[in-house]
Symmetry: C2
Subunit: 105 residues, 2 copies
Amino acid sequence: MKSEDKKQPDLAVELDRLVHEPARLKLMSYLYLVEGADFVFLISRTGLTMGNLSAHMSKLEKAGYIKVEKEILNNRPHTMLSLTAAGRTAFESYRAGIEQIIGKF
Amino acid sequence: MKSEDKKQPDLAVELDRLVHEPARLKLMSYLYLVEGADFVFLISRTGLTMGNLSAHMSKLEKAGYIKVEKEILNNRPHTMLSLTAAGRTAFESYRAGIEQIIGKF
DNA sequence: GTAAATATGTTTGCGCTGCAAAGTTGTTTG
DNA sequence: CAAACAACTTTGCAGCGCAAACATATTTAC
């Protein structure tokens, strides 16, 4: 490396706040592995309330990070979530960013 | 009443928001390694503005995570930051929490 | 010698956001 | 039929991070 690099703010990496928020980070982390989980299951898995899961889900959907499919199953609503390609990319890049800040695990 | 662990919400881990905030995460990550850095240097290192660094520094200090030492050096104010023992512990436990959510790197 | 620029921070104003609580819609049960 | 349940959505507000404004002391320019 050259000394012409005045400062190297390797910590100046920007983390995607949409992913960074703990509730959403948990969701995306899980969806990254399983490729599909339903609303009710995710509540028990993440410890979120229905209200909060609903709100975060909407944000992630609006951002294009997850796909939300609603259907009627056994006469009841049923909601399935899954990561989109953009969501996978966003998660991977978030992971890289955080690793850069925190260091190797 | 007695509860059996039917579900293991390994994602239900709580992240310390004081550490989680990107600006503070960067600060603590760096201080974890070097054990002492001054205000001006940290600005270039983290990409924060003076105002934001000042605010986050105050929060971390109030939380007991860092120690802030102010002196006059060459007729100018000089501020040194360093992690406290509590800060080190908090950072380590944050790291463990995030690893549990995101997975192994 | 004083006005302007520089250095090192702190404080303030406010827009955004996450969370708990309340609301919605439909179904089952007694 | 009413009350309880299931699966969500919407709302209200407190708290927070950020940019901008402010504070204070020193050095430089003229």
